[in-house]
Amino acid sequence: MNNGGVQMSDESYNREGTEKTTDSHPQTSPDSDTRLEVEHLNVYYGDFRAVKDVNLSIKNNRVTAIIGPSGCGKSTFIRCLNRMHEVTPGGRVQGKVMLDGQDLYGPGVDPVDVRRRVGMVFQKPNVFPSMSIYDNVASGYKLNGVRNRQMIAEKVERSLKNAALWEEIKDDLQKPGTSLSGGQQQRLCIARALAVDPEVLLMDEPCSALDPIATAKIEELIHELKETVTIVIVTHNMQQAARVSDYTAFFYVGELIEFGETQQLFTAPEKRQTEDYITGRFG
């Protein structure tokens, strides 16, 4: 709690839109490559405790998968990493989430600033229907009143390229975002999240509404993105977790049962429950 009063001074941009690059983000401490450190996290819906005393560290520029059966609290858990859980009525969080050594739940920390640093992609593509493809990607800036057109245009192009969507839609930027296919819409949502240069990208079952081909594209994308951004992905699909992630956390009824390198966890799990789950004995 000692550093709880530290302000999130590092906004990715200011109102005039003279942008700072990701290089200006505080560097991770040299003794560790940990980006996010979760300490004694308890998460509540009213009186119900959905996540129980979770400790977990998420490594820089790696993909961490969260797996577990439905209702095990995995979505609830990642929604705490960018302070989206408290948007839910009755939602309450105890414990610490340290991003580069700063407690995201410290006093004086604005959740709006947290969400600029920790982006999110949701289960179903949630493209803004009132906006064009271009404006969707630019929305992180435009909704916040940023007017620097040239900077925004560069961000939009770069994010669409990073989201592997640019080639498909570069001539249709002014069409409505909702005119795209489901898989394209989800990549548009990824581009939208990437456009504001987040340090961490949370993905809450990003492929659950997509067909296998679109899913493969997103998985490929995750591989490329981890060069520049730390990724936490919730997935129902164990094969997906095995394919895309470096680390895997197994949640069961709100508890973190096991956490480790993906290969280790899938080939030689330490806990009985983990083994039962990954071998398909339940869940």
């Binding site: 948007v87 709006v112 949630n126 009132s130 409505p176």
Partner: protein, 293 residues
């Protein structure tokens, strides 16, 4: 499995039951078609009758001239047309921001007891008789100002419009998927910018429809004008003074002793109805065009 179900289909009692069900369906559909026909019959009947009584008296003079003294044939309702536009326009300027603002509050703070109370009271307010609203506006504006005025009429209309705007806007906001709001918040957009940048644009069509509904309702109300705008046979653009409005003029003419006045009341009814009709048709066309963008 298949064989047994086939057998059951063809058995005598089931065939009978199937026929009965078909017959009941036919009766039910006929009944519903009749109900639908009766519903639109009244709209068409009113339209037809007003056209029959009023359309023949419409000419350029009727729309552009001032009323003549009682007994003289000729003259028009230009002052009432402009008066209605002014009074309703001013009421819209009052009611839209208030109704929208309240709807945003009710929608964004759903757990607040006050929000739910506001919504409930808006529903009650839509049921308050418009003549009572007129009396209230009389006490609120006319008495302190010391004279009837267009402004007091606008206040009365606004009181009628606010709950309509509030309820339609609230329903429109409720239809905005929560996932869009979350997407915006997750981008680091504050709540108030999310409301302005996402919730309002996404629901804009329904907001416009609600606004037009409120305007149409006010345009046709005569009762709230009785003790507020009052009416005025002369040309007046000053909202601080008594002013003529079309529904009030219809009331005066229809209850007056002259045959020419009755004719003019029908003609004015025709004009009023056409204005409301054209407004709503044009709104629909505009919104449909927007959907195809």
């Amino acid at each position: 499995m298949k064989a047994t179900s086939m057998q059951r289909m063809t058995s005598q009692t089931d065939l009978h039951r199937f026929r009965v069900r078909k017959l009941v369906e036919l009766l039910a559909v006929t009944g519903m078609v009749l109900c639908a026909a009766v519903s639109i019959f009244f709209l068409l009947a009113i339209l037809g009758y007003v056209v029959y009584r009023g359309a023949s008296s419409i000419d350029w003079e009727f729309l552009t001239a001032l009323p003549l003294p009682p007994g003289e044939v000729g003259g028009g309702i230009a002052n009432a047309l402009i008066g209605s536009v002014l009074v309703v326009g001013c009421a819209t300027l009052l009611a839209m921001p208030i109704g929208l603002g309240a709807a945003v509050f009710v929608n964004e703070f759903p757990s607040a007891r006050l929000g739910r109370a506001v919504r409930f009271m808006a529903e009650v307010l839509t049921g308050v008789p418009s003549i009572v609203v007129g009396l209230f506006a009389y006490a609120l504006v006319v008495q302190p100002m010391g004279s009837f005025s267009g402004l007091s009429g606008s206040v009365a209309y606004a009181i009628i419009m606010v709950p309509i705007v509030l309820i339609t806007s609230h329903e429109a906001f409720r239809l905005v998927p929560p996932s869009l709001r979350e997407a915006s918040l997750a981008l680091g957009v504050p709540k108030w910018r999310t409301i302005i940048g996402i919730v309002l644009p996404v629901s804009s069509k329904a907001l416009i429809t609600g606004g037009v509904l409120a305007i149409s309702r006010a345009l046709g109300e005569a009762a709230p004008m009785l003790f507020t705008a009052f009416g005025n046979p002369f040309w007046n653009l000053n909202l601080g003074k008594p002013i003529a409005t079309v529904p009030m003029l219809i009331y005066t003419y229809a209850t007056g002793p002259y045959e020419d006045w009755h004719r003019k009341a029908w003609a004015a009814s025709f004009v009023l109805m056409m204005v409301v009709l054209i407004t709503s048709v044009m709104t629909r066309a505009f919104l449909r065009g927007k959907a195809h963008e």
